[in-house]
């Protein structure tokens, strides 16, 4: 059995003062957008609740989610979250390896059935019986389904788990599949992004542990507190968008003035994420602030909706000719225009010939 200690006990064990603990509770309440009245409730939950076991699985992915997660500033991941949770299994962070690690996984599955949270980074490739991703000598899909069966809830970390990401882009040779398409009957919280923002990841977990329920989700299963608005809705360059002031090239005067990057293909208007409010690296910056448009990494199909530097996505026609909506439209219009010109000429010719042979005949005969 894992230790019966509460989160608060763990904090004190780590030498965190009561005062720091209260500050953390207030900060967490603020970062979740809750009123100050919630800080004592968070404190109460931390003092009374047992640590929830978390299993962190890694499938077909690049570990950028883990890399982002360990950089959370509020709450600080090293001091707080690893103590807050009982992280029983994680390729990146666990001390155990090999058979010991797999034994820990099996122990949690057995002893905490129905209690643990399953955090999944990456997705299972289904092609060739799942042979494109082997974990512990078995296809990842087997491990995922086995662990999902006993989970209380599943957190889909990143775009891989939420919507497939790069490995699921056309033509998707390994048939990489987001987890909501292979796991049914379990609550799944999608936290998309490539990677998701660190504070968003720890914020989602903190919410679940504090309130012992899922955060409010949108129709795609994303927490609305972080994915309820588009980058565009809170972008500090938005006034330039409404004014009609756009950067036309990466090195032009408009770009230097900090104009809107819409014409450079910025995906801010179609991307739901918290980058323009929470920002990255402890609130230092985010892509648009650094002068590069958003690529929409937290949106489904963001890779297939390329190129990143154009507002019009490539459209894949059945004939394999790459095109976009405007090229197709103008092309069709050109063909129709030429067709009309030829047809009008033929019509006029026919009419002239008809009236020449039969001058008395009216139009349309």
């Amino acid at each position: 059995m894992s230790s019966p200690e509460t989160f608060y006990d763990v904090f004190r064990q780590q030498g965190i003062s009561r005062r720091s603990f209260n500050k953390f509770c207030a900060l967490t309440a603020a970062s979740l957008g809750l009123s100050p009245a919630f800080a004592p409730k968070i404190a109460h939950a931390m003092e009374t609740r047992r640590r929830t076991p978390v299993i962190w699985l890694n499938g077909l992915e690049c570990t950028c989610c883990s890399e982002s997660f360990i950089r959370s500033g509020h709450p600080l991941v090293s001091d707080v979250v690893l103590s807050m949770l009982s992280l029983d299994y994680s390729h990146v962070l666990m001390a155990a390896a090999g058979h010991q690690a797999e034994a820990a996984l099996e122990e949690t599955r057995r002893d905490h059935a129905g209690e643990y949270i399953l955090a999944v980074e990456g997705n299972p490739p289904l092609n060739e019986d799942g042979m494109f991703c082997i974990v512990g000598g078995r296809p990842f899909i087997d491990q995922l389904q086995e662990m999902a069966a006993g989970a209380k809830a599943i957190v889909a970390w990143g775009s891989c788990a939420s919507n497939g990401c790069v490995q699921a882009a056309r033509p998707n040779p390994t048939q990489a599949t987001p987890i909501h398409k292979v796991i049914k009957g379990k609550p799944i919280i999608k936290v998309p992004g490539c990677p998701p923002i660190a504070e968003v990841m720890t914020g989602v977990l903190t919410y679940m542990l504090t309130f012992d329920r899922l955060p409010p989700l949108d129709r795609l299963g994303r927490p609305t507190m972080f994915y309820g608005q588009r980058i565009h809705d809170k972008c500090y360059r938005r006034p330039h968008f409404d004014a009609g002031q756009f950067a036309e090239a990466w090195d032009d005067e408009n770009s230097r003035k900090g104009y809107c990057l819409y014409k450079m293909g910025c995906r801010g208007p179609t991307t739901y994420n918290a980058c323009s409010t929470v920002r990255w690296n402890d609130g230092v910056s985010f892509p648009i602030q650094s002068g590069h448009g958003c690529i929409g990494c937290s949106e489904e199909n963001f890779w297939d909706n390329g190129p990143f530097y154009d507002r019009l996505a490539d459209v894949h026609t059945p004939l394999g000719v790459e095109s976009n909506a405007d090229k197709m439209g103008l092309g069709a219009l050109g063909v129709i225009g030429a067709g009309i010109a030829a047809h009008a000429a033929a019509s006029a010719l026919q009419r002239a010939r008809a009236s020449a042979t039969n001058p008395k005949s009216g139009s349309g005969e």
Binding site: D218, R219, L220, T224, G228, Q229, R230, D233, P239, H240, F241, D242, A243, G244, Q245, F246, E248, N254, Y259, Y262, K263, R267, P269, T270, T271, Y272, G296, E299, E300, N301, F302, N305, R311, L312, A313, V315, N324, A325, D326, M328, G329, L330, A332, L333, I336, G337, I340, H343, A344, A346, S347, Q350, R351, G362, S363, G364, E365
Partner: protein
């Protein structure tokens, strides 16, 4: 032929070829004509502003706080879209309230072999393979098919995708999003819906070009009036042969 007098048959407009010659027939009632021209104005505004939303004009100079150029382009687009949608609802209502021709473009009788035969006749007429066009009171069957497939369906797609995208701007907790958010579940992410919205615009632009050409050509070469009919509502026949 007598067995075809069912409910469906009475409901569906079978592109009635004129059997008895008449000098003129009242075809398009005032509500249909008003809708047609209001729709035309909205579509022109929507296509021009829509194109500019995807491909904005060169930047305006000055402070952002003194300018609202792109905002106005979007405002015209959204306003014209709202008018178009309301006019479309009104047109659907008129399909029920209006005369026999008012619901013709909504229900092409695609299950009728006779009708497809007449479509084929029209295709041959446009390919100069038929010497004599038939006379029709409403739309000819080919026109009916084009109105339905190349105009009505893309227009519906534009309206639904357009309102879904508008709902995103209004916010996911808005009534707009509650009404149209399902479009994203059906068609995918926001950017893909933008792409579909733009393709449907091009289909409507292509239809409009063909529509204007054919209306003028038919006005000259067919046996009935076309352009003036959409202004006055009266269809004139140029000969009294069957």
């Amino acid at each position: 032929m007598a067995r075809k007098q069912g409910l469906l048959h009475s409901l569906v407009h079978h592109a009635t070829e004129v059997q008895t010659p008449a000098a003129k027939i009242y075809v398009y009632e005032a509500p249909v004509r008003i809708w047609h021209w209001l729709n035309a104005i909205c579509i022109v505004l929507l296509c021009v502003t829509g194109y500019l939303i995807g491909k904005p004009l060169p930047s305006v100079p000055g402070e952002a706080s003194f300018n609202y150029a792109f905002g106005y382009v979007r405002m015209i687009h959204f306003g014209a879209g709202q008018v178009l949608a309301v006019a479309f609802l009104y047109r659907i209502a008129w399909a029920f309230l209006g005369n026999h021709h008012a619901h013709q473009i909504f229900l092409p009788p695609v299950w009728s072999l006779t009708w497809w035969g007449e479509v084929w006749h029209e295709v041959r007429w446009y390919l100069f393979l038929e010497k004599t066009p038939k006379k029709y009171v409403g739309h000819n069957p080919l026109a009916q098919l084009a109105m339905f497939g190349l105009f009505l369906l893309p227009l519906l797609l534009s309206i639904f995708t357009g309102f879904a995208l508008y709902a995103e701007g209004a916010g996911i907790d808005s009534a707009w999003y509650s009404a149209f958010g399902w479009v994203f579940g059906l068609l995918g992410d926001s950017f893909s819906v933008h792409t579909i919205h733009r393709i449907s615009m091009w289909v409507i632009v292509c239809f409009t070009v063909i529509h204007i050409y054919v209306a003028i050509r038919e006005d000259i070469m067919s046996r009935q009036s076309l352009v003036s009919t959409m202004i006055s509502g009266w269809r004139y026949f140029k000969d009294d042969k069957e």
